[in-house]
């Protein structure tokens, strides 16, 4: 005889953890996509010596060290540089020619985490010869990951797959040219950060702060629930210039308020590049 476990009883410790984060630390995760957030919390609990969620919720409330490790885990996207090389090839082929037509172009990389996507875009624009008249705004809600992004120091293990993906993306040089190696770490060359402004901005909570010709927002809105996602999408929409380009992850599409969605046309459908079209 099986006894179906109702999901409400299973998620109770998660509710407790959410309450701790909100009441004690002022962090509200209630608008996030629930299942993946719960998965991440369970992973975090496992990393604290294999704790059950209930015990973990208590530890988070009592121990600031446990809390700050959780916060770091939730705000870090441990992804590779040049994820999905075909995207960068499409960016070079279809978007760079558009950016080239502006005397100065502005690019926004929201929720940039530790900055790898921003550096990858910088390399691409540099090789296209338009970096000098471009400014990249790379923003994140979390000042700690921004500090890491500014330092541009990454584990060298990251470099092997990044170097391969850089070549697949049609890189003109070698990735080694853009980094200096020391021990187990590589550092992005300062010349790459020349045109990047790393700044604090919470895409799900703050309004638009500038107008951009390109917004690279791949796999960022995934972690938000539908309502917060729509809100963040409106901020992106307000921030895109007329006929600007929006880049989403290959598993995403433009979702949000009907009038926002209606303004976007596919530019490169397979790579989820969209053009904002204002009637």
């Amino acid at each position: 005889m099986t006894h179906p476990i109702e999901s409400s009883t299973r998620t109770e410790p998660v509710e407790q953890l959410f309450a701790e984060l909100r009441d004690r630390y002022g962090l509200d995760y209630s608008g996030f996509a629930r299942a993946q957030l719960e998965h991440r919390l369970r992973e975090a609990a496992r990393l604290e010596g294999g704790l059950e969620l209930e015990a973990y919720a208590r530890r988070v409330a009592q121990d600031e060290g446990v809390f700050s490790r959780l916060q770091a885990l939730l705000s870090t996207r441990a992804d590779s540089m040049f994820r999905r090389p075909t995207f960068f090839a499409a960016l070079r082929e279809h978007v760079v020619p558009l950016l080239r037509t502006y005397p100065s172009a502005r690019v926004w990389v929201p929720a940039c985490s530790t900055g790898l996507e921003a550096y990858a875009v910088a390399i691409l624009l540099r090789e296209a010869g338009i970096y000098e008249r471009t400014r990249i705004y790379a923003t994140d809600a979390d000042e700690l990951v921004l500090e890491e992004a500014r330092r541009g120091v990454y584990p060298s293990a990251m470099l092997a797959s990044a170097a391969r993906d850089y070549q697949l993306a049609g890189g003109r040089s070698t990735l080694d040219e853009y980094v200096t190696s020391e021990g187990d770490f590589v550092t992005m060359r300062p010349v790459l950060a020349d045109r990047i402004s790393f700044a604090q901005h919470h895409i799900a909570a703050e309004p638009s702060f500038n107008e951009f010709h390109l917004v690279v927002c791949r796999d960022v809105l995934l972690q938000l629930g539908p309502a917060l996602h729509a809100r963040a999408m409106s901020v992106i929409d307000e921030s895109l210039a007329r006929f600007g380009v929006l880049a989403l992850g290959h598993g995403e599409t433009v979702r949000g308020d009907v009038d926002v969605v209606s303004r976007y046309r596919p530019l490169v459908p397979t790579e989820r590049l969209f053009r904002k079209v204002v009637p």
Partner: protein, 181 residues
């Protein structure tokens, strides 16, 4: 009777399938064998090299009586539709919609069958049927565990063959079953 028979009598609302590239032909048999009036949504996590989901979409579209497409983030779950997890994402099931994630691989896999089954069990409990094909290894074993914990229906290969699984799924939507709802 087989292990597919469950004690609880709640109607099944969702089917999840876990597979790898090695299960290609089983997956084809399974999709081919679904009846034309199959009314449930089916979500497939299948690992393979490169953009394997894109090849699978082409292959399954030509044999499946249901529409087949690659899942998108926050897509509502529609009845009689086969959704494939896109390459290099985890797929989490929420009640009525799909959520993609780029958290690290689980059991060396992304998409992970375990995460798909865990999240689907979390949202649908005993209203879920899970199919684990033989190629999914440790990831599949843990997925089976998630089904068991939730009291969901489990249809696995082995002991069942792909065509038996298709037939059993077909029975879930047969008129006699519909009447009991």
């Amino acid at each position: 009777m087989s292990a597919a028979v469950r004690a609880s009598a709640v109607p099944i609302e969702l089917v999840v399938v876990g597979a790898t590239e090695a299960d290609r032909s089983s997956l084809e048999v399974l999709c081919w064998g679904l009846p034309g009036d199959f009314s449930l949504p089916v979500i497939v996590a299948c690992n393979g090299d490169g953009d394997y989901a894109a090849s699978l979409e082409v292959a399954l579209r030509s044999l499946c009586p249901l529409p087949v497409s690659i899942a998108q983030d926050k897509q509502p779950i529609a009845p009689r539709h086969v959704y494939l997890c896109p390459a290099d994402y985890h797929l989490f099931v929420e009640r009525g919609w799909l959520s993609l994630g780029v958290t690290p691989p689980v059991n060396h896999a992304r998409p992970s069958v375990e995460l798909l089954f865990w999240s689907a069990s979390r949202a649908y409990g005993a209203r879920l049927a899970g199919v684990v094909l033989s190629g999914s290894g440790q990831d599949g074993d843990r997925a089976r565990q998630a089904l068991g914990d939730a009291g969901a229906m489990s249809l696995c290969q082995p002991p069942h063959t792909a065509s038996e699984i298709a037939a059993r799924l077909g029975e879930l939507c047969s008129p006699s079953n519909e009447r009991s709802r």
